[in-house]
Assembly symmetry: C2
Homo-oligomer: 433 residues x 2
């Protein structure tokens, strides 16, 4: 019998390192520079790299044979050293080998920028992420998600966890994964749409950060088959512009939050945060005019998104632009139709640096209106009876949106392929690692 009182060994972070004299650090041997009488061993922890020095003439212990990739516990004294990363190095007093890999790294992870194809990077993902710039992307991803959560909570949104195994797709179309669920047909949620709407009926404002599944067949640099959705939904809106105002305020907060809390990571990524003052919003018809199309298209294609962002940057100095009032034929059945323009839905996209990162809008809250729209679109309302319960028993006017976390990070960090912004990406050809 043992009694546990919760005493935990403190973790050495970068600040402890800088302020400490005698220190013990656990880490991985990232690189060894053997200069004969003196060796430099770069240790990688989960937070930083630090240079350790072994001088035969000064160190009184015998150095064990260590190799790149070994996990070690080192002790020593810190001292200032301008040439070392972080301005501090450790003069070693002991080195203990904790574990040793069975093979050498197949990639040069110690280099500043890894020199390999995206395919090789992903094939050896567990190694590639040991590169400090590769893993840094996911530190920033954490910051982006935290900023979203903090802002939503400050606005009285409640965080929810809704099921990913569902009886019906919310977004329509063929891009949905099917599974067998105890003999029934079931699907993987294409979005938390139905559930976040349901929660508006009792929490007014909700958000969710969770996986979203899309069975997109095409492999592009901007699609993933599983991604992380930042979703919110809010009740008692006067129009979809309330949703867009909320997103604008959230993004402003996010950039400030990242600047204040992730400056080291942003600098390592050489990222330039967008300045957000005001975000312009144009209608789909206005977009067609700007793009020089004489007739309306049904949707925007990737080139259009790039051009509209160039327009926004040039004319308004904004890296973002909203496009509203999309043709309703391309928008899901829960989107509210525009009373003033029978062809349009009260639905919007937000484009950022040439890429759509958000889809949102006002939803239908009236039961009869929803049933009629389903029927008009060739859907059987009986298939959606449990979803329609929310309308039957009453919903306030409401709307919301979904942001693709990986797309947002991709554009914040100017990455060329969305797979770089997913730790373990899923595409039509890849389910490992």
């Amino acid at each position: 019998m043992v009694l546990l009182n919760g005493d935990v060994k403190p973790y050495v972070d970068i600040d402890t390192l800088k302020s400490s004299e005698e220190i013990t650090i656990d880490g991985c041997v990232h690189r060894i520079k053997d200069m004969g009488a003196i060796s430099f061993i770069i240790i990688r922890t989960g937070q930083f790299l630090v240079q350790c020095v072994y001088e035969e003439s000064e160190c009184s212990f015998e150095m064990p044979q260590i190799k790149t990739g070994d996990n070690v516990r080192v002790s020593g004294k810190t001292r200032s050293e301008e040439r070392a990363a972080g301005g501090v190095e450790i003069v070693l007093e002991s080195v203990e080998l904790l574990s040793r890999p069975a093979a050498e790294y197949p990639l040069s992870v110690f280099k500043n920028k890894m020199n390999c194809s995206i395919e090789t990077n992903l094939d050896y993902r567990s190694v590639a992420l040991r590169n400090v710039r590769e893993r840094n992307i996911f530190k920033i991803q954490q910051g982006v998600a935290d900023a979203f959560r903090e802002y939503m909570k400050s606005q009285n949104f409640t965080e929810i966890h809704t099921p990913k195994i569902v009886a019906h797709g919310a977004e329509g179309g063929a891009n949905i994964f099917k599974l067998k669920y105890f003999g029934q047909d079931a699907f993987l949620a294409q979005s938390p749409q139905f559930y976040k709407q349901t929660c508006v009926a009792f929490f007014d404002r909700v958000f969710e950060i969770g996986p979203v599944f899309r069975a997109e067949k095409h492999n592009t640099t901007r699609h993933l088959n599983e991604y992380t959705g930042l979703d919110f939904e809010m009740g008692y809106i006067d129009s979809m512009y309330d949703v867009m105002a909320m997103e604008t305020a959230m993004l402003k907060y996010m950039m400030k939050y990242l600047e204040e809390n992730y400056s080291r990571e942003l600098s390592l990524a050489q990222a330039e945060l967008p300045k957000i003052d005001e975000i312009p919003s144009i209608t789909f018809d206005e977009a067609m005019e700007i793009l020089g199309f004489s007739a309306l298209k049904a949707d925007l294609d990737p080139d259009d998104e790039v051009k509209l962002c160039e327009y926004s940057k040039e004319k308004y100095g904004s890296d973002f632009i909203f496009v509203t009032h999309f043709p309703k034929t391309k928008r899901p059945f829960y989107a509210m139709d525009d009373r003033e323009n029978p062809k349009a839905a009260l639905s919007f996209d937000l484009l950022f640096r040439g890429l759509e990162i958000t889809t949102g809008g006002q939803r239908i809250h009236d039961y009869n209106e929803q049933v009629e729209k389903m029927e008009r679109m060739g859907l059987d309302p009986n298939d959606f009876s449990s979803y329609l319960d929310i309308h039957k028993y009453g919903m306030p006017p409401h709307g919301g949106l979904g942001i693709g976390l990986e797309r947002l990070v991709m554009k914040l960090l100017d990455l060329s392929n969305i797979r770089q912004a997913s730790m373990f990406p899923r595409d039509a050809n890849r389910i490992t690692p």
Copy 2:
């Protein structure tokens, strides 16, 4: 063209209500008490209930016909009223109808405790959650998840999002959901096990809050087929007791956090938080002795868990008890074997008020040891080659655990069925709503 600057309408929370004189509130008509010359209308917002008063003699506007379930915008003056919940009521100055349900509620949600079976509650989940005690469970759930996250971050853990579509089950057994992934066989993740281990190699300490899928066939009051896992994994441990110490410290923090931030919700739920000073930890062999089994069983069953918790409460005044060194036959292939007891794995459970809420342990970090254990257990290491890359290219000694969020909340709130702690539970018979 419109410019959005991110001005958002402030949300009226309980504190605004108390400090405000003139107020406008959006909400749902929760209950109407018509006394003739005076009517009391209880408005439900996402945060609170408030009594609104309409007196024919005092109110200068004509009251629209409103019914329970209507969504309204009301304005008026607040005044102290001891008999009203929250000590404040609103004397109405205007009522605007925003939306109206198509049918009356099938359940009496305005009652303090709903008087219906769990099946009816779940069938009409979108209505049942409009009861303030029902929704309150998920406010507390948010607090539990936030406390976990905050504590983990304070200990330098990085939050990760790992794929739920996977090529292999991590936990073995038949309780895994299969799906077709572009012609390949794929599965839904039974845990983030492989991925959180992978992340230890470059972040040292990671945690994830996300969905976990188990194709358990039996319908019990303690199993869900989809639940929310609170997972963490940490490198450079000296033994699994480092993991258990971390969990103990996290739980202490959680109870303090809930007490400080969720006192209103805990009081509504009539919840009694456990006092955590020290958590006793016994070995599986000791557990057998306490339970009076002369021979070792392979695992603990639900009755054993109840008895061990009674023992812990009586002997140590603790609502929790760790059980360690489980027989390795019932533990997964990644569990490290105990060098001192060849029958045991370095694996533990944490029991809380009669229920297992955590499984964790030290993992194998050595490549050859992992390959040999797989072979001994009849698994083909070639099937796990991308997972084994983490061992091949080096892992520090590490361990971690997974906590079932719904189980933890169930026991914190003394709920009799785990479905009450899941907003939209999935069991063998239920995938809607």
